[in-house]
Amino acid sequence: MALLEVKDLGIQFGGLKAVDGFHMEIGDNELIGLIGPNGAGKTTVFNMLTGVYQPTDGEILFDGSSISGLTTYEVTKKHMARTFQNIRLYKEMSVSDNIKTSCSVRRKYSLIDAIFHTGKYYKVEQENEEQVQKLLKMFGLEDKADLLAKNLPYGDQRRLEIARALATEPKLLLLDEPAAGMNPQETEDLAVFIKWIKDEFKISILLIEHDMKLVMGICEKITVLNFGKIIAEGTPKEIQNNPQVIEAYIGRKK
């Protein structure tokens, strides 16, 4: 069975159908791309998947159960995590605390444990700390662990956001335009990095991206949205040659 199965998903804002009849299937350890021009509804799809917006139609099955109607944090508890198009870190918290907050989704203790510093408190804090150190090392942030998140350079902020999402131990990671604001060299590095994450953590990744080269280079399957509707889906090769996609991106040939 697929990890994520989306059927006939739609949402309406006032009179506007922002997304209509969206469907998608993601298997284990797959890297899928979701592309489309500005305002096509890509981020809206993310927001529906993660419970930020409640869809008006359709069904979302994740890891064997329906997640329609769940709140954002409930979705995350079911092992789906995301990043944001406009980076949303906890700016005034240290890099390591940014990640550590996510760890508590999986390992927690009661308030009583916290107040009386019981054995469980020390044990969980220790485990979380180890997890944080591991992620910091993997993401090359270990010597910036005590910096405030807002003081990190842009590229590091992007990476920290991914590390923070991974600390929630997702099976599916949603990346919302991770290459935004990066130069071609950085984008290329990012492509390698995303692939590496997929293999290292053995997770599936759904990637929204503007940068065609990035998506075409690493995604196994691609879905193209325009005006809230799917206009094409398939392998990168199929997408590249699809006349409708070319039209949506470049415009109709005279």
Binding site: T50, V52, T71, T72, Y73, T76, K77, A81, R82, F84, R88, L89, Y90, K91, E92, M93, S94, D97, K100, T101, S102, S104, V105, K108, Y109, L111, A114, I115, H117, Y121, Y122, V124, N128, D146, L147, L148, N151, R164, A165, A167, T168
Partner: protein, 327 residues
């Protein structure tokens, strides 16, 4: 574990030594009744500042009716000791429970909303509590509640202030405290990372309200008389100023803010008639100047910690990599 244990023992020893010293000074009359009174007020104010800082500094919610929760604790505990003859400690604990329950009743509907609604509603709640008490004959209505026994001594204040500090420290340094800070900085991101923002905010708010109510209980059994007007908007403002002066989000800052703003007006009192007359005027001008030139308060959001004092001599633990010293 071993290291934590050792640090803990050192802290306990220091606290006990300070207590014995203070006790000795009081008995020898070196600390007079006037100074002792100021110390007790300082203790109560520290607990109030710590409790409000948890709400404002950690959950990021602005609460403007803190004195009302203090009133709940003061009145409830006073009813238990005076009318129902319960011992002091259970009575103030029940007062704190009542304060926490009141916090739940306000917070449960309001904290679901995004935005500054808590500020407005706690403000309204503060006025409602005041007016309601003014209309309850059982507790003396507007005339006030008198005949409360004196229980709050230096010893109790010392103990409870230390405990309150430890409690807050442990809450904020736990997963719960981190959740609160995450929510205060970016609620949407925190929710996406699996934090139940509503629950984090509600927890911080209830703990803060319960602690304020606890401080109210101490206050009632120290002054032996309480009336609704002592818990009005001005009192809430006073507590807020402790937190802001100390630095929003800094636990040690809250302590510093409470100490300075309790002692300062008393100190100004000593400067003769001019100061005495214009005390409040000077006080308000000082706050304006402080806000313009050092709005982050004395401590910013940094912490003063024993560990760093021992390790580096007299330097401060600079949390989060900010490099400037303490002004």
């Amino acid at each position: 574990m071993q290291k934590n244990m050792k640090k803990g023992i050192i802290k306990i020893v220091i606290v006990v030594l300070v207590f014995i010293l203070a006790k000795f000074l009081i008995r020898e009359g070196i600390i007079g009744a006037y100074t002792e009174r100021i110390i007790i007020t300082v203790g109560i104010n520290i607990i109030l500042a710590l409790s409000l800082n948890l709400i404002i500094g950690y959950t990021g919610q602005l609460a403007l009716g803190h004195a009302a929760f203090m009133a709940v604790g003061a009145y409830v505990s006073a009813i238990f000791t005076t009318k129902l003859n319960l011992p002091f400690v259970p009575a103030i604990i029940l007062g704190a429970v009542a304060g926490g329950a009141a916090g739940f009743l306000i917070g449960w509907p309001i904290l679901r909303l995004k935005g500054d609604y808590l500020a407005i509603c706690t403000l309204g709640f503060g006025e409602i509590v005041k007016v309601l008490i003014q209309n309850i004959e059982y507790v003396g209505a507007a005339r006030g509640f008198s005949g409360i026994k004196l229980f709050t001594t230096f010893g109790w204040i010392f103990l409870f202030t230390v405990l309150a500090y430890i409690l807050i420290k442990r809450v904020v340094n736990s997963v719960y405290g981190r959740d609160m800070r995450a929510v205060s900085q970016d609620e949407i991101a925190a929710e996406a990372m699996g934090v139940n923002a509503f629950r984090a905010k509600l927890l911080g708010f209830i703990i803060g309200c319960a602690m304020a109510a606890f401080a109210g209980g101490l206050y009632a059994h120290y002054l032996m008389f309480i009336d609704p007007v002592s818990f009005d908007f001005n009192k809430s403002t006073e507590i807020l100023t402790f937190v802001v002066l100390g630095g929003i989000g800094s636990t040690s800052g809250s302590v510093a803010g409470a100490v300075i703003l309790t002692v300062l007006p008393e100190a100004l009192r000593g400067f003769g008639d001019f100061i005495k007359t214009y005390r409040m005027l000077i006080y308000s001008i000082m706050i304006v100047i402080l806000m313009i030139f050092r709005p982050q308060g004395i401590m910013g959001n940094r912490e003063l910690s024993l560990q760093n004092l021992m390790k580096k001599g007299n330097t401060f633990n600079i949390k989060g990599g900010e490099k400037d010293g303490i002004a």
